[in-house]
Protein backbone atom coordinates (compact mmCIF):
# COMPACT_ATOMS: atom_id res chain seq x y z
CA UNK A 1 0.00 0.00 0.00
CA UNK A 2 2.77 2.43 0.94
CA UNK A 3 4.68 1.46 -2.16
CA UNK A 4 1.67 2.42 -4.29
CA UNK A 5 1.49 5.89 -2.74
CA UNK A 6 5.25 6.22 -3.08
CA UNK A 7 5.01 5.27 -6.77
CA UNK A 8 2.24 7.84 -7.32
CA UNK A 9 4.32 10.55 -5.66
CA UNK A 10 7.50 9.69 -7.56
CA UNK A 11 5.67 9.75 -10.87
CA UNK A 12 4.02 13.04 -9.94
CA UNK A 13 7.43 14.59 -9.26
CA UNK A 14 8.34 13.89 -12.87
CA UNK A 15 6.07 16.81 -13.75
CA UNK A 16 8.93 19.10 -12.71
CA UNK A 17 11.66 17.31 -14.64
CA UNK A 18 13.15 18.50 -17.87
CA UNK A 19 11.51 16.88 -20.89
CA UNK A 20 13.76 14.77 -23.06
CA UNK A 21 11.84 15.23 -26.31
CA UNK A 22 13.64 17.03 -29.13
CA UNK A 23 11.03 19.11 -31.02
CA UNK A 24 12.31 17.83 -34.33
CA UNK A 25 11.61 20.16 -37.23
CA UNK A 26 12.51 23.24 -35.18
CA UNK A 27 15.14 21.58 -33.05
CA UNK A 28 17.64 19.16 -34.54
CA UNK A 29 19.20 16.23 -32.78
CA UNK A 30 23.02 16.16 -32.61
CA UNK A 31 24.40 13.70 -35.12
CA UNK A 32 28.04 12.67 -34.65
CA UNK A 33 30.50 13.19 -37.47
CA UNK A 34 30.66 9.41 -37.94
CA UNK A 35 26.87 9.05 -38.13
CA UNK A 36 25.73 6.77 -40.93
CA UNK A 37 23.38 8.89 -43.03
CA UNK A 38 23.15 9.99 -46.66
CA UNK A 39 25.91 8.44 -48.81
CA UNK A 40 28.23 10.69 -50.84
CA UNK A 41 31.12 10.22 -53.25
CA UNK A 42 34.12 12.36 -52.36
CA UNK A 43 36.91 13.87 -54.45
CA UNK A 44 40.64 13.75 -53.79
CA UNK A 45 42.58 16.90 -52.76
CA UNK A 46 43.22 17.66 -56.43
CA UNK A 47 39.51 17.78 -57.13
CA UNK A 48 39.31 14.55 -59.12
CA UNK A 49 36.92 11.71 -58.45
CA UNK A 50 38.28 9.28 -55.89
CA UNK A 51 36.13 6.35 -57.02
CA UNK A 52 38.08 3.81 -59.09
CA UNK A 53 34.97 1.75 -59.92
CA UNK A 54 36.28 -1.42 -58.28
CA UNK A 55 32.70 -2.64 -57.50
CA UNK A 56 33.65 -3.58 -53.93
CA UNK A 57 30.90 -1.38 -52.49
CA UNK A 58 28.31 -2.94 -54.77
CA UNK A 59 29.51 -6.39 -53.72
CA UNK A 60 29.52 -5.52 -50.02
CA UNK A 61 26.05 -3.99 -50.14
CA UNK A 62 23.65 -6.45 -48.46
CA UNK A 63 20.57 -5.02 -50.21
CA UNK A 64 22.14 -4.49 -53.63
CA UNK A 65 21.26 -0.84 -53.77
CA UNK A 66 24.48 0.29 -55.48
CA UNK A 67 24.88 0.01 -59.24
CA UNK A 68 27.84 1.29 -61.24
CA UNK A 69 29.75 0.78 -64.47
CA UNK A 70 33.53 1.11 -64.67
CA UNK A 71 35.32 2.88 -67.46
CA UNK A 72 38.75 4.41 -68.09
CA UNK A 73 39.84 7.80 -69.24
CA UNK A 74 42.48 8.07 -72.06
CA UNK A 75 45.31 8.16 -69.49
CA UNK A 76 44.29 4.84 -67.93
CA UNK A 77 42.61 6.22 -64.84
CA UNK A 78 39.55 4.20 -63.85
CA UNK A 79 36.32 5.93 -62.89
CA UNK A 80 32.62 5.00 -62.84
CA UNK A 81 30.70 5.72 -66.01
CA UNK A 82 27.57 5.91 -63.91
CA UNK A 83 27.11 5.44 -60.20
CA UNK A 84 23.62 4.94 -58.85
CA UNK A 85 22.39 4.41 -55.29
CA UNK A 86 18.77 3.51 -54.68
CA UNK A 87 18.14 5.05 -51.27
CA UNK A 88 14.72 3.48 -50.97
CA UNK A 89 16.60 0.19 -50.56
CA UNK A 90 19.65 1.43 -48.68
CA UNK A 91 19.77 0.37 -45.02
CA UNK A 92 22.67 2.68 -44.10
CA UNK A 93 24.80 -0.17 -42.79
CA UNK A 94 28.03 1.48 -43.89
CA UNK A 95 29.51 -1.69 -45.39
CA UNK A 96 30.19 0.16 -48.65
CA UNK A 97 32.29 2.70 -46.79
CA UNK A 98 34.22 -0.10 -45.06
CA UNK A 99 34.79 -1.91 -48.34
CA UNK A 100 35.96 1.14 -50.27
CA UNK A 101 39.76 0.99 -50.85
CA UNK A 102 40.00 4.67 -51.83
CA UNK A 103 37.80 6.39 -49.22
CA UNK A 104 35.60 7.51 -52.09
CA UNK A 105 32.21 6.42 -50.77
CA UNK A 106 31.38 7.90 -47.37
CA UNK A 107 28.35 8.16 -45.13
CA UNK A 108 27.42 11.59 -43.76
CA UNK A 109 25.38 12.83 -40.78
CA UNK A 110 22.36 13.84 -42.85
CA UNK A 111 19.09 11.98 -42.53
CA UNK A 112 16.59 14.40 -44.08
CA UNK A 113 16.03 12.63 -47.38
CA UNK A 114 12.24 12.25 -47.45
CA UNK A 115 10.61 12.32 -50.88
CA UNK A 116 7.03 12.10 -52.13
CA UNK A 117 8.03 10.31 -55.32
CA UNK A 118 9.90 7.04 -54.91
CA UNK A 119 11.87 7.57 -58.11
CA UNK A 120 13.45 10.62 -56.50
CA UNK A 121 15.13 8.31 -54.01
CA UNK A 122 17.42 7.04 -56.75
CA UNK A 123 20.55 9.20 -56.67
CA UNK A 124 22.80 9.40 -59.74
CA UNK A 125 26.49 10.26 -59.71
CA UNK A 126 25.90 13.99 -60.05
CA UNK A 127 23.72 13.88 -56.92
CA UNK A 128 26.25 11.82 -54.98
CA UNK A 129 29.49 13.62 -55.85
CA UNK A 130 30.59 16.36 -53.50
CA UNK A 131 33.31 18.92 -54.11
CA UNK A 132 35.52 18.10 -51.13
CA UNK A 133 37.51 15.19 -49.75
CA UNK A 134 35.03 14.34 -46.94
CA UNK A 135 36.44 12.77 -43.81
CA UNK A 136 39.98 12.19 -45.18
CA UNK A 137 41.25 15.57 -46.38
CA UNK A 138 44.81 14.55 -47.37
CA UNK A 139 44.29 11.12 -48.86
CA UNK A 140 44.85 10.69 -52.56
CA UNK A 141 44.70 7.11 -53.78
CA UNK A 142 46.49 7.66 -57.07
CA UNK A 143 49.39 9.41 -55.33
CA UNK A 144 50.11 6.37 -53.14
CA UNK A 145 49.14 3.57 -55.53
CA UNK A 146 51.82 2.03 -57.70
CA UNK A 147 49.70 2.24 -60.81
CA UNK A 148 50.61 4.22 -63.88
CA UNK A 149 48.15 6.88 -64.94
CA UNK A 150 48.43 10.02 -66.97
CA UNK A 151 50.86 12.52 -65.35
CA UNK A 152 52.30 9.93 -62.97
CA UNK A 153 54.53 7.14 -64.10
CA UNK A 154 55.48 4.02 -62.18
CA UNK A 155 57.72 4.77 -59.21
CA UNK A 156 56.68 8.41 -58.95
CA UNK A 157 54.12 7.89 -56.20
CA UNK A 158 54.72 8.99 -52.61
CA UNK A 159 56.99 6.73 -50.52
CA UNK A 160 57.73 4.64 -53.62
CA UNK A 161 61.11 3.75 -55.12
CA UNK A 162 61.51 3.80 -58.91
CA UNK A 163 61.07 0.32 -60.38
CA UNK A 164 64.16 -1.78 -60.84
CA UNK A 165 65.40 -1.86 -64.42
CA UNK A 166 65.40 -5.60 -65.05
CA UNK A 167 67.89 -5.23 -67.89
CA UNK A 168 70.53 -3.91 -65.46
CA UNK A 169 70.41 -7.23 -63.62
CA UNK A 170 71.38 -9.22 -66.67
CA UNK A 171 74.73 -10.95 -66.39
Amino acid sequence: MLSIIRALWDVFLHAFRKRVTIQYPEQKAYLAARYRGRIILSRDPEGEERCVACYLCAVACPVDCIALQATEDPTGRRYPEFFRINFSRCIFCGYCEEACPTYAIQLTPDVEMGEYNRQNMVYEKEHLLIDGPGKYPDYNFWRVAGVKIGGKDKGEAEREAPPTDLRSLLP
Partner: protein, 317 residues
Protein backbone atom coordinates in the same frame (compact mmCIF):
# COMPACT_ATOMS: atom_id res chain seq x y z
CA UNK B 1 -34.77 22.35 -6.03
CA UNK B 2 -35.77 21.58 -9.61
CA UNK B 3 -34.00 23.44 -12.38
CA UNK B 4 -36.27 26.05 -13.97
CA UNK B 5 -35.07 25.11 -17.45
CA UNK B 6 -34.44 21.34 -17.41
CA UNK B 7 -34.26 21.13 -21.20
CA UNK B 8 -31.53 23.76 -21.39
CA UNK B 9 -29.63 22.09 -18.57
CA UNK B 10 -29.96 18.79 -20.39
CA UNK B 11 -28.49 20.15 -23.62
CA UNK B 12 -25.70 21.94 -21.76
CA UNK B 13 -24.84 18.80 -19.80
CA UNK B 14 -24.95 16.57 -22.87
CA UNK B 15 -22.71 18.83 -24.95
CA UNK B 16 -20.53 19.61 -21.93
CA UNK B 17 -19.99 15.97 -21.02
CA UNK B 18 -19.09 14.98 -24.59
CA UNK B 19 -16.79 17.98 -25.00
CA UNK B 20 -15.03 17.34 -21.71
CA UNK B 21 -14.67 13.66 -22.63
CA UNK B 22 -13.02 14.72 -25.88
CA UNK B 23 -10.82 17.18 -24.04
CA UNK B 24 -9.92 14.46 -21.56
CA UNK B 25 -8.43 12.32 -24.32
CA UNK B 26 -6.09 15.20 -25.08
CA UNK B 27 -5.52 16.04 -21.40
CA UNK B 28 -4.70 12.44 -20.59
CA UNK B 29 -2.14 12.19 -23.35
CA UNK B 30 -0.55 15.49 -22.35
CA UNK B 31 -0.46 14.60 -18.65
CA UNK B 32 0.90 11.11 -19.26
CA UNK B 33 3.57 12.70 -21.42
CA UNK B 34 4.34 15.24 -18.69
CA UNK B 35 4.85 12.47 -16.17
CA UNK B 36 6.98 10.51 -18.60
CA UNK B 37 9.18 13.54 -19.44
CA UNK B 38 7.71 13.90 -22.92
CA UNK B 39 5.46 16.51 -24.60
CA UNK B 40 2.57 14.51 -25.99
CA UNK B 41 0.37 15.84 -28.81
CA UNK B 42 1.34 19.51 -29.25
CA UNK B 43 1.16 20.07 -32.99
CA UNK B 44 -2.52 20.17 -34.00
CA UNK B 45 -3.82 23.60 -33.06
CA UNK B 46 -2.68 25.54 -29.98
CA UNK B 47 -1.04 23.12 -27.49
CA UNK B 48 -2.35 20.26 -29.65
CA UNK B 49 -5.92 20.94 -28.50
CA UNK B 50 -7.36 20.01 -31.89
CA UNK B 51 -5.79 16.54 -31.70
CA UNK B 52 -9.00 14.90 -30.50
CA UNK B 53 -10.96 16.58 -33.28
CA UNK B 54 -8.49 15.29 -35.86
CA UNK B 55 -8.68 11.80 -34.35
CA UNK B 56 -12.46 11.94 -34.42
CA UNK B 57 -12.57 12.96 -38.08
CA UNK B 58 -10.21 10.10 -38.80
CA UNK B 59 -12.41 7.65 -36.87
CA UNK B 60 -15.48 8.76 -38.79
CA UNK B 61 -13.78 8.00 -42.09
CA UNK B 62 -12.59 4.58 -40.99
CA UNK B 63 -14.38 1.55 -42.34
CA UNK B 64 -17.13 0.59 -39.90
CA UNK B 65 -16.63 -3.13 -40.15
CA UNK B 66 -18.83 -5.80 -38.55
CA UNK B 67 -17.19 -9.23 -38.56
CA UNK B 68 -19.23 -11.75 -40.59
CA UNK B 69 -19.10 -14.21 -37.67
CA UNK B 70 -20.39 -11.66 -35.16
CA UNK B 71 -23.89 -11.50 -33.72
CA UNK B 72 -24.77 -8.40 -35.70
CA UNK B 73 -27.48 -6.69 -33.67
CA UNK B 74 -25.92 -7.34 -30.29
CA UNK B 75 -22.61 -6.20 -31.75
CA UNK B 76 -24.19 -2.88 -32.73
CA UNK B 77 -26.12 -2.49 -29.47
CA UNK B 78 -23.13 -2.94 -27.14
CA UNK B 79 -21.35 0.38 -27.74
CA UNK B 80 -24.69 2.19 -27.58
CA UNK B 81 -25.38 0.75 -24.13
CA UNK B 82 -22.16 2.09 -22.65
CA UNK B 83 -22.90 5.60 -23.89
CA UNK B 84 -26.51 5.36 -22.81
CA UNK B 85 -25.88 4.20 -19.25
CA UNK B 86 -23.05 6.62 -18.59
CA UNK B 87 -24.93 9.60 -20.00
CA UNK B 88 -28.08 8.58 -18.10
CA UNK B 89 -26.11 8.71 -14.86
CA UNK B 90 -25.42 12.41 -15.49
CA UNK B 91 -29.14 13.03 -15.07
CA UNK B 92 -28.77 12.95 -11.28
CA UNK B 93 -25.45 14.76 -10.88
CA UNK B 94 -25.94 18.17 -9.23
CA UNK B 95 -23.44 20.54 -10.84
CA UNK B 96 -24.49 23.69 -9.02
CA UNK B 97 -27.52 24.85 -7.01
CA UNK B 98 -30.46 24.40 -9.39
CA UNK B 99 -28.28 23.03 -12.16
CA UNK B 100 -29.46 19.45 -12.26
CA UNK B 101 -31.50 17.66 -14.88
CA UNK B 102 -33.63 15.61 -12.52
CA UNK B 103 -33.54 15.84 -8.73
CA UNK B 104 -34.40 12.21 -7.97
CA UNK B 105 -34.93 11.25 -4.35
CA UNK B 106 -33.14 7.95 -5.05
CA UNK B 107 -30.28 9.48 -7.04
CA UNK B 108 -27.58 7.29 -5.46
CA UNK B 109 -29.52 4.13 -6.27
CA UNK B 110 -30.13 5.40 -9.80
CA UNK B 111 -26.42 5.95 -10.27
CA UNK B 112 -25.63 2.46 -8.96
CA UNK B 113 -28.31 0.93 -11.19
CA UNK B 114 -26.95 2.66 -14.28
CA UNK B 115 -23.40 1.62 -13.53
CA UNK B 116 -24.64 -1.97 -13.11
CA UNK B 117 -26.36 -1.79 -16.49
CA UNK B 118 -23.08 -0.60 -17.94
CA UNK B 119 -21.69 -4.08 -17.39
CA UNK B 120 -23.95 -5.32 -20.18
CA UNK B 121 -22.13 -3.28 -22.80
CA UNK B 122 -18.79 -4.96 -22.17
CA UNK B 123 -20.22 -8.43 -21.70
CA UNK B 124 -22.38 -8.21 -24.81
CA UNK B 125 -19.53 -6.71 -26.81
CA UNK B 126 -17.27 -9.59 -25.79
CA UNK B 127 -20.01 -12.16 -26.47
CA UNK B 128 -21.21 -10.79 -29.80
CA UNK B 129 -17.67 -10.50 -31.22
CA UNK B 130 -17.36 -14.30 -31.24
CA UNK B 131 -13.64 -13.98 -30.69
CA UNK B 132 -11.81 -15.74 -27.89
CA UNK B 133 -9.92 -12.65 -26.75
CA UNK B 134 -13.03 -10.52 -26.80
CA UNK B 135 -14.93 -13.20 -24.88
CA UNK B 136 -12.18 -13.46 -22.26
CA UNK B 137 -12.23 -9.67 -21.94
CA UNK B 138 -16.00 -9.66 -21.61
CA UNK B 139 -15.88 -12.39 -18.95
CA UNK B 140 -13.24 -10.51 -17.02
CA UNK B 141 -15.31 -7.34 -17.29
CA UNK B 142 -18.39 -9.13 -15.96
CA UNK B 143 -16.58 -10.68 -13.01
CA UNK B 144 -14.63 -7.54 -12.16
CA UNK B 145 -17.47 -5.07 -12.46
CA UNK B 146 -19.97 -7.22 -10.57
CA UNK B 147 -17.49 -7.85 -7.75
CA UNK B 148 -16.59 -4.21 -7.39
CA UNK B 149 -20.21 -3.14 -7.78
CA UNK B 150 -20.97 -4.90 -4.49
CA UNK B 151 -18.76 -2.83 -2.25
CA UNK B 152 -19.17 0.28 -4.37
CA UNK B 153 -22.76 0.41 -3.17
CA UNK B 154 -21.81 -0.47 0.38
CA UNK B 155 -19.08 2.17 0.53
CA UNK B 156 -21.66 4.83 -0.34
CA UNK B 157 -24.06 3.79 2.40
CA UNK B 158 -21.91 5.59 4.99
CA UNK B 159 -22.48 8.95 3.31
CA UNK B 160 -26.14 8.12 2.82
CA UNK B 161 -26.42 7.37 6.52
CA UNK B 162 -24.72 10.63 7.50
CA UNK B 163 -26.82 12.71 5.14
CA UNK B 164 -29.97 10.74 5.86
CA UNK B 165 -30.95 10.82 2.20
CA UNK B 166 -30.38 9.15 -1.14
CA UNK B 167 -30.85 12.51 -2.83
CA UNK B 168 -27.55 13.91 -4.13
CA UNK B 169 -28.67 17.52 -3.58
CA UNK B 170 -29.44 16.71 0.06
CA UNK B 171 -26.08 14.96 0.36
CA UNK B 172 -24.28 18.06 -0.96
CA UNK B 173 -26.27 20.31 1.35
CA UNK B 174 -25.42 18.08 4.32
CA UNK B 175 -21.73 18.77 3.66
CA UNK B 176 -22.04 22.51 4.34
CA UNK B 177 -19.99 22.34 7.51
CA UNK B 178 -17.78 19.34 6.87
CA UNK B 179 -17.00 17.37 3.74
CA UNK B 180 -17.91 13.71 4.09
CA UNK B 181 -14.36 12.74 3.18
CA UNK B 182 -13.41 13.47 6.81
CA UNK B 183 -15.81 11.12 8.64
CA UNK B 184 -16.02 8.75 5.68
CA UNK B 185 -12.38 8.59 4.60
CA UNK B 186 -12.46 4.81 4.31
CA UNK B 187 -15.67 5.01 2.31
CA UNK B 188 -14.02 7.54 0.00
CA UNK B 189 -11.00 5.30 -0.61
CA UNK B 190 -13.21 2.28 -1.25
CA UNK B 191 -15.49 4.21 -3.59
CA UNK B 192 -12.49 5.54 -5.48
CA UNK B 193 -11.06 2.05 -5.99
CA UNK B 194 -14.45 0.68 -6.99
CA UNK B 195 -14.87 3.61 -9.36
CA UNK B 196 -11.59 2.83 -11.11
CA UNK B 197 -12.68 -0.80 -11.48
CA UNK B 198 -16.11 0.25 -12.74
CA UNK B 199 -14.68 2.47 -15.46
CA UNK B 200 -12.16 -0.25 -16.36
CA UNK B 201 -9.32 2.23 -16.03
CA UNK B 202 -5.73 1.38 -15.31
CA UNK B 203 -4.60 -0.20 -13.01
CA UNK B 204 -7.85 -2.20 -13.26
CA UNK B 205 -8.15 -2.38 -17.05
CA UNK B 206 -8.04 -6.18 -17.11
CA UNK B 207 -11.02 -6.45 -19.49
CA UNK B 208 -8.89 -4.61 -22.04
CA UNK B 209 -5.38 -5.56 -20.99
CA UNK B 210 -3.80 -5.02 -24.39
CA UNK B 211 -0.68 -6.98 -23.44
CA UNK B 212 -2.66 -10.23 -23.10
CA UNK B 213 -6.02 -9.86 -24.85
CA UNK B 214 -5.26 -7.68 -27.91
CA UNK B 215 -7.87 -5.11 -26.84
CA UNK B 216 -10.15 -7.31 -24.76
CA UNK B 217 -13.88 -6.93 -25.26
CA UNK B 218 -13.56 -4.33 -28.07
CA UNK B 219 -10.96 -6.23 -30.12
CA UNK B 220 -13.31 -6.56 -33.08
CA UNK B 221 -14.63 -3.00 -33.01
CA UNK B 222 -13.51 -0.38 -35.47
CA UNK B 223 -14.48 3.09 -36.59
CA UNK B 224 -16.92 5.05 -34.52
CA UNK B 225 -18.20 1.96 -32.65
CA UNK B 226 -14.76 1.72 -31.10
CA UNK B 227 -14.96 5.49 -30.66
CA UNK B 228 -18.15 5.03 -28.61
CA UNK B 229 -16.40 2.66 -26.20
CA UNK B 230 -13.50 5.07 -26.06
CA UNK B 231 -15.63 8.13 -25.36
CA UNK B 232 -17.85 6.09 -23.02
CA UNK B 233 -14.82 5.25 -20.93
CA UNK B 234 -13.84 8.91 -20.65
CA UNK B 235 -17.36 10.03 -19.79
CA UNK B 236 -17.27 7.23 -17.20
CA UNK B 237 -14.17 8.76 -15.63
CA UNK B 238 -15.87 12.14 -15.65
CA UNK B 239 -18.90 10.59 -13.98
CA UNK B 240 -16.92 8.84 -11.26
CA UNK B 241 -14.93 12.03 -10.59
CA UNK B 242 -18.20 13.96 -10.38
CA UNK B 243 -19.65 11.41 -7.97
CA UNK B 244 -16.54 11.54 -5.75
CA UNK B 245 -16.83 15.33 -5.73
CA UNK B 246 -20.53 15.28 -4.95
CA UNK B 247 -20.53 12.49 -2.38
CA UNK B 248 -17.33 13.16 -0.49
CA UNK B 249 -15.99 16.62 -1.32
CA UNK B 250 -19.00 18.83 -0.91
CA UNK B 251 -20.02 19.14 -4.57
CA UNK B 252 -20.46 22.79 -5.44
CA UNK B 253 -19.75 23.98 -1.87
CA UNK B 254 -16.82 26.35 -1.53
CA UNK B 255 -15.98 29.96 -0.63
CA UNK B 256 -15.94 33.03 -2.91
CA UNK B 257 -16.17 31.34 -6.33
CA UNK B 258 -19.53 30.31 -7.79
CA UNK B 259 -20.68 26.72 -7.23
CA UNK B 260 -20.11 25.47 -10.76
CA UNK B 261 -16.47 26.60 -10.63
CA UNK B 262 -15.88 24.72 -7.39
CA UNK B 263 -17.52 21.67 -8.86
CA UNK B 264 -15.18 21.78 -11.85
CA UNK B 265 -12.07 22.44 -9.76
CA UNK B 266 -12.77 19.40 -7.60
CA UNK B 267 -13.80 17.19 -10.49
CA UNK B 268 -10.74 18.03 -12.55
CA UNK B 269 -8.53 17.32 -9.58
CA UNK B 270 -9.87 13.76 -9.49
CA UNK B 271 -9.65 13.44 -13.26
CA UNK B 272 -5.98 14.31 -12.92
CA UNK B 273 -5.63 11.75 -10.17
CA UNK B 274 -7.18 9.07 -12.39
CA UNK B 275 -4.61 9.86 -15.06
CA UNK B 276 -1.79 9.82 -12.49
CA UNK B 277 -2.92 6.34 -11.46
CA UNK B 278 -2.59 5.24 -15.05
CA UNK B 279 0.86 6.76 -15.31
CA UNK B 280 2.17 5.23 -12.09
CA UNK B 281 0.65 1.83 -11.41
CA UNK B 282 1.01 -1.55 -13.11
CA UNK B 283 -1.92 -3.87 -13.73
CA UNK B 284 -2.56 -6.57 -11.10
CA UNK B 285 -3.13 -10.22 -11.90
CA UNK B 286 -6.79 -11.15 -12.30
CA UNK B 287 -6.89 -13.44 -9.25
CA UNK B 288 -5.30 -10.66 -7.19
CA UNK B 289 -7.98 -8.27 -8.39
CA UNK B 290 -10.75 -10.66 -7.40
CA UNK B 291 -9.27 -11.54 -4.01
CA UNK B 292 -8.77 -7.85 -3.15
CA UNK B 293 -12.34 -7.17 -4.11
CA UNK B 294 -13.93 -9.94 -2.10
CA UNK B 295 -11.48 -10.54 0.76
CA UNK B 296 -10.28 -7.02 1.52
CA UNK B 297 -12.57 -4.35 0.08
CA UNK B 298 -15.90 -5.98 0.85
CA UNK B 299 -15.14 -6.65 4.57
CA UNK B 300 -13.74 -3.11 4.89
CA UNK B 301 -16.88 -1.66 3.33
CA UNK B 302 -19.07 -3.70 5.68
CA UNK B 303 -17.00 -2.65 8.70
CA UNK B 304 -17.22 0.98 7.58
CA UNK B 305 -20.98 0.72 7.29
CA UNK B 306 -21.24 -1.00 10.68
CA UNK B 307 -19.11 1.58 12.50
CA UNK B 308 -20.83 4.51 10.79
CA UNK B 309 -24.21 3.10 11.66
CA UNK B 310 -23.21 2.47 15.28
CA UNK B 311 -21.77 5.97 15.72
CA UNK B 312 -24.81 7.54 14.09
CA UNK B 313 -27.15 5.52 16.29
CA UNK B 314 -25.19 6.20 19.49
CA UNK B 315 -24.55 9.95 19.14
CA UNK B 316 -26.90 11.47 16.58
CA UNK B 317 -30.27 9.83 17.12
Amino acid sequence: MISPYPAITLIVVLIGALTIAGGLVWAERRLLALWQDRYGPNRVGPFGLMQTLADMIKLFFKEDWIPPFADKWVFIMAPAIVMFTVLMSFVVVPFAPGMIISDLNIAVLFFLAMSSLGVYSTVLAGWASDNKYALLGGMRAAAQMLSYEVFMGLSLMGTVLLAGSFDLVDIVNAQRHMWFVVPQFLGFVLFMIAGIAETRRLPFDLPESESELVAGYHSEYSGMKFGMFFVGEYIGILLISSMITVLFFGGWQGPVLPGIVWYFIKTFFFLGFFILLRAALPRPRFDQLMSWGWKLMLPLALANLLVTGAVKLAFFS
